[in-house]
């Protein structure tokens, strides 16, 4: 059994030792799993980008646009803006990664836009929505497909015309906010970028 009372020095010493050993163990695990975690995330994101912009061969993160994009999107967080390039390196569109708030936390999604600012596709990477209810935004294919063709110049109005899913109001709204944010980024930031090319 543990000693009934320990001196302050003993307490500090034992906590320090335990923390140091833990830190070493964690550093080791981190080093072992780091590459795989990055690779998994990269792969999930590339697959999502590829599915919303099938013409593109490669995607490039435009870090220089991050601040402007965040500002344009308003409350919805924008994690990244990607240039979609075809085989010859010409710009075919944009991928915007956003994380609007759903019912069970952020919905990680990418929205593809062509050069004219029309939505080419929406794909959810990960989410924590209620199975059977909120997850219908992915399970029912018509829901995300109805965003295809929305014009970013006029997104707020066009999106309002679309249907939400019964029983998944908040999740539907989350997806809608994600598309609206991506459109706002295109209208506010990418429009000018695309014209320059």
């Amino acid at each position: 059994m543990a000693k009934k009372s320990a001196s302050p020095l003993q307490m500090v010493f034992s906590v320090t030792v335990v923390c140091a050993v833990s830190a070493a163990g964690l550093a080791g695990t981190y080093a072992l799993t780091k590459d795989r975690i990055v690779a998994q995330e990269q792969q999930a994101q590339n697959e999502a980008l590829g599915s919303v912009l099938p013409e593109a061969e490669s995607f490039e993160l435009r870090e220089d646009l991050a601040d402007a994009a965040t500002e344009a999107a308003g409350e919805t967080p924008v994690m990244g803006v990607y240039e979609a390039l075809d085989g010859s390196g010409a710009l075919v569109g944009w991928g915007v990664r956003t994380a609007p708030r759903g019912y069970g936390g952020p919905i990680q999604m990418v929205v593809g836009l062509d050069r004219d600012g029309l939505v080419t596709g929406v794909k959810v990477i990960s989410m924590n929505e209620t199975p059977g209810l909120g997850t219908q935004i992915v399970d029912l294919p018509w829901f995300l497909e109805q965003f295809v063709g929305v014009d970013s110049q006029n997104a707020a109005e066009e999106v309002r015309e679309l249907d939400a899913i019964t029983g998944a109001t908040k999740s539907s709204r989350g997806a809608r906010h994600g598309v609206e944010a991506a459109c706002a980024v295109h209208a506010g930031v990418l429009e000018g970028e695309g014209a320059g090319q």
């Binding site: 009372s5 906590v15 335990v18 799993t33 795989r36 936390g105 209810l133």
Partner: protein, 218 residues
Amino acid sequence: MKKWTEVFLDGISLENPLTVLLIGLCSALAVSSKFEGSFFMGIAVIFVTLMSNVIISAIRNFIPHEVRIPIFIVVIASFVTIVDLTMKAFLPDVYGFLGVWIPLIVVNCMVLGRAEAFAYHNGVWLSIADALGMGVGYTVVIVLLAATRELIGSGKLEFLGATLIAFPEWYRGPNIVLLFPGAFILFGFIIAGTYAINRRLRARAATAAVRTERGASL
């Protein structure tokens, strides 16, 4: 050796953390809407409880009484982070579903409770039995709850992409089962069930004890 199996079985039945001790409920009710996720949540909890019980019982003589809780938490948090990183690396889909509930195992009072109530006062060997019993007890209940909820609520049971059982197409499950109220109601039934089983177990143990007493006096 009998003691070991006794401690192990107590965790599953007479002292089941979820249905008898009623600890660690928050994560159990939240995660149990999906069978697959619950299964891996159970594995994660078993691993963390086992490792923290082993480490804490092994170093229990060197832990000053006054700072034992911070030390428990550091040990538990380390193993939770290890699970967190490993799952993110190798089971990204499952991790996507469990999300924040994996890091939250740190504050699952079942893990800390076992460290404080059992591992701190017992040897490594018995602490292993306790951790496994408690972990398996947690897993059995959460998996049972999740299988029921997913099957009734969405009409099919999936595991790693394969459909295990599916109701006919026309089946429309009551959505409430997938939401928190449904979890509470079903969990109530599970508690009632465990209570009935445990009462029988106790009665049988009591008659067995009486019989051996009689046998001894004859």
